[in-house]
């Protein structure tokens, strides 16, 4: 499998009141062709910042402080703004959470799709119309011809999200980043959209980065999972490894707080405490104040948190893991 994207030690900072705070504190992951990588975590963990950094869409007060983002061996972070535009949309497409705000309410769907086709594939006129219909059909929109003449407000939430996906496909990207694509949708519609993404992935052999907070969605579509907490990666592994053999205390806590519709009982053991803000400086592991098994070492800011490998895909980053690992050796 070819590597599409390689992110190493990515650090993103935001300037707030004249001081820079890190929203991402050095995360690594990669994405292969034809796979879905889910980035999960709670709000504020840096999952959306990751996607914005890859797309070079960070707000004005944010910047990539350190690290590298490689797209097929090409380093993105050192490229000029102009060069970077050739990747955004064209090579890496993005689907946002709220399709209503991502579509222009004043322009017809057809116009917006054709604009994307002209920009990315250089197709115009009648040919573009045909192509637009074809893409709308591909994402399962009924009566695609009639839709071209409609405005976004005339469509339901599920259809709007499909139009967004069609628009992203117009550029024939290698990677699609979907930031909470189904959070605003109802469960029955969510199931439809997730199925569509899965089909497109298999058919077009693209790589999908799916950003979500919903463990149910993760279990449904992910091949590999990357768990973030407060700007750090906690654990990464295949979907089976994460769900059946979670190692990091945060991953465990996260899974335990999701009620399962199939199980008869639900022991409500929430993770105590509150999520730290990015301004908060925490000595040692950023999860230490909420971690049920934290030891002294976890509060020691001088100690580097070790990465523990469980298999070729599965690893986690935790002090406790190291101790556990050492005693086992």
């Amino acid at each position: 499998m070819g590597k599409l994207l390689e992110v190493t030690d990515l650090k993103v900072g935001f300037r707030i009141d004249g001081k820079e705070y890190l929203a991402l504190r050095g995360i690594d992951f990669d994405l292969n062709k034809g796979e879905t990588l889910c980035i999960v975590g709670e709000s504020g963990c840096g999952k959306s910042v990751t996607s914005l950094a890859i797309m070079d869409l960070l707000p004005v007060n944010g910047r990539v402080v350190d690290g590298s983002i490689k797209f097929k061996d090409e380093e993105l972070t050192s490229l000029s703004k102009k060069k970077r535009r050739e990747f955004r949309g064209k090579k890496i497409g993005m689907i946002f959470q709220e399709p209503m705000t991502a579509l222009n309410p004043l322009l017809k769907i057809g116009f917006q799709l054709k604009e994307a086709l002209k920009l990315h594939q250089g197709i115009t006129g009648q040919e573009a119309t045909e192509k637009a219909v074809e893409y709308l059909d591909k994402v399962g929109i009924p009566e695609p011809k009639a839709r071209l003449k409609q405005y976004s407000y005339q469509l339901s939430g599920g259809l709007r999200q499909r139009v967004m996906i069609a628009m992203v496909l117009c550029a024939e990207p290698d990677i699609i980043i979907a930031d909470e694509p189904t959070t605003a949708l109802d469960v029955t519609i969510q199931a439809q959209v997730l199925k569509l993404l899965e089909e497109l992935k298999n058919e077009l052999e693209i790589g999908i980065i799916l950003i979500t907070h919903d463990m149910g969605v993760v279990a449904e579509v992910a091949d590999r999972v990357c768990v973030l907490y407060a700007g750090n990666k906690c654990e990464e592994g295949t979907v089976d490894e994460i769900f059946n053999d979670p190692k990091h205390p945060y991953t465990k806590g996260l899974l335990a707080s999701v009620p399962d519709i199939d199980s008869e009982t639900f022991e409500n053991n929430p993770i105590p405490g509150v999520f730290p803000t990015i301004q908060e400086e925490i000595d040692g592991c950023r999860f230490n104040t909420r971690c049920p098994v934290a030891k002294d070492a976890c509060f020691n800011g001088k100690r580097k948190i070790p990465l523990v490998k469980c298999s070729s895909n599965h690893h986690y980053i935790c002090h406790l893991g190291a101790e556990y690992y050492e005693t086992k050796l």
Binding site: V187, Q192, G216, V239, S257, P259, D260
Partner: protein, 332 residues
């Protein structure tokens, strides 16, 4: 379920239609969005009654109508032997205290310019004769009750996290010792680890204050683990209603079955049978003729397109409105 069958609130043929203007200037024909369409049920004292359904099914309207935030178009809501839809506003004030609501977005329901203490004190200013000192004492007690600190009295809403704000919303709701609390998507805006915390608080205060909840949610997994009975709504109608146990073991309505199937599972154990519903929820303004679910139902036959199915008790405590209830829990 708590063994208590005392009826707290009786709802009979409740309807709430919103009138819509047509776009044309001199067109006087009115159209209606039938948000709640002929609903009959009881709320028992001390239970958690879940209301689930997709957006636009009327679940929030139902909650708002029950506590008279919206006045119903038709029907009766009987509370303590009084039809509260028929009594004048000033007589309703005493019942208002007993029915409270927790909203989805706690930030939107708090005034950003008021300190939390001031906002909570307002409740007592309006409904009680307590003096300033007593009010402050009460508010401090409430804040502690939901796991906040006395110092938070002087903080502003923006200084809190989402979970803490929702706790403030809860403390406001329990301030006047209510009987019934409507939780309208009360935990939907929160992160999962915080959701679990807030559910725990709701549980604790329910036991302590002997509360009844109407728990509106779109999350079936949460409903399963938190509610005693569940009502499934679709396009303003009740599709199925029974105890939680019965609903999950003996699901009978095709809509409920497909809803349960499309809910994503947080585990990767097995390949499960998945039927993804096609199409979308029809508009409330222009509902289909016959059964509201007929446009998407895999089991629909001729009669479903002609007659609205009767809402009936199919076995003890299990209500359903469907011409062809599913017997073995399988759609195909």
């Amino acid at each position: 379920m708590k063994q208590n069958y005392e009826i707290l609130m009786e709802v009979k043929n409740l309807k709430k239609f919103y009138t819509l203007k047509s776009g044309k200037l001199f067109d006087r024909k009115l159209r209606y969005a039938r948000a709640v369409n002929d609903i009959t049920f009881n709320i028992y004292k001390g239970e958690v009654l879940g209301v689930v359904g997709e957006s636009g099914c009327g679940k929030s309207t139902l909650g708002r109508t029950l506590i008279q935030m919206d006045s119903p178009t038709d029907g009766e809501i009987i509370y303590k032997n009084q039809d509260i839809t028929k009594i004048p506003e000033k007589d309703f004030k005493k019942y208002k205290k007993e029915m409270q609501m927790i909203f989805q977005d706690p930030f939107a329901s708090l005034n950003p310019r008021h300190r939390v203490g001031t906002a909570l004190e307002e409740v007592f200013k309006i409904h009680t004769d307590l003096n300033h000192e007593e009010r402050k004492e009460e508010v401090t007690r409430l804040l502690k009750e939901v796991g906040l600190k006395a110092e938070h009295y002087n903080s502003y809403p923006h200084q809190f996290s989402g979970g803490q704000r929702q706790r403030i919303g809860i403390s406001r709701a329990i301030a006047l010792n209510p009987e019934l609390i409507i939780c309208d998507e009360a935990i939907s805006a929160l992160d999962v680890s915080i959701q679990a915390q807030v559910l725990n608080i709701l549980n604790v205060i329910q036991d302590k204050y002997d509360l009844t909840y109407l728990f509106i949610t779109h999350d079936l997994a949460v409903a399963k683990h938190f509610c005693d009975r569940i009502m499934v709504m679709y396009l303003g109608h009740i599709m199925e209603m029974c105890s939680t146990e019965e609903l999950f073991q003996n699901t009978m309505h095709p809509y409920t079955i497909s809803l349960l199937m499309s809910a994503p599972r947080p585990n990767v154990k097995k390949e499960r049978e998945q039927i993804i519903l096609e199409g979308e929820v029809p508009s409330l303004v222009n509902p289909p003729k016959g059964c509201p679910f007929n446009t998407r139902c895999p089991k629909a036959k001729d009669i479903c397109f002609e007659k609205v199915p009767e809402y009936r008790e199919i076995s003890k405590g299990h209500y359903i409105s469907c011409h062809y209830p599913v017997e073995d829990g399988k759609l195909k």
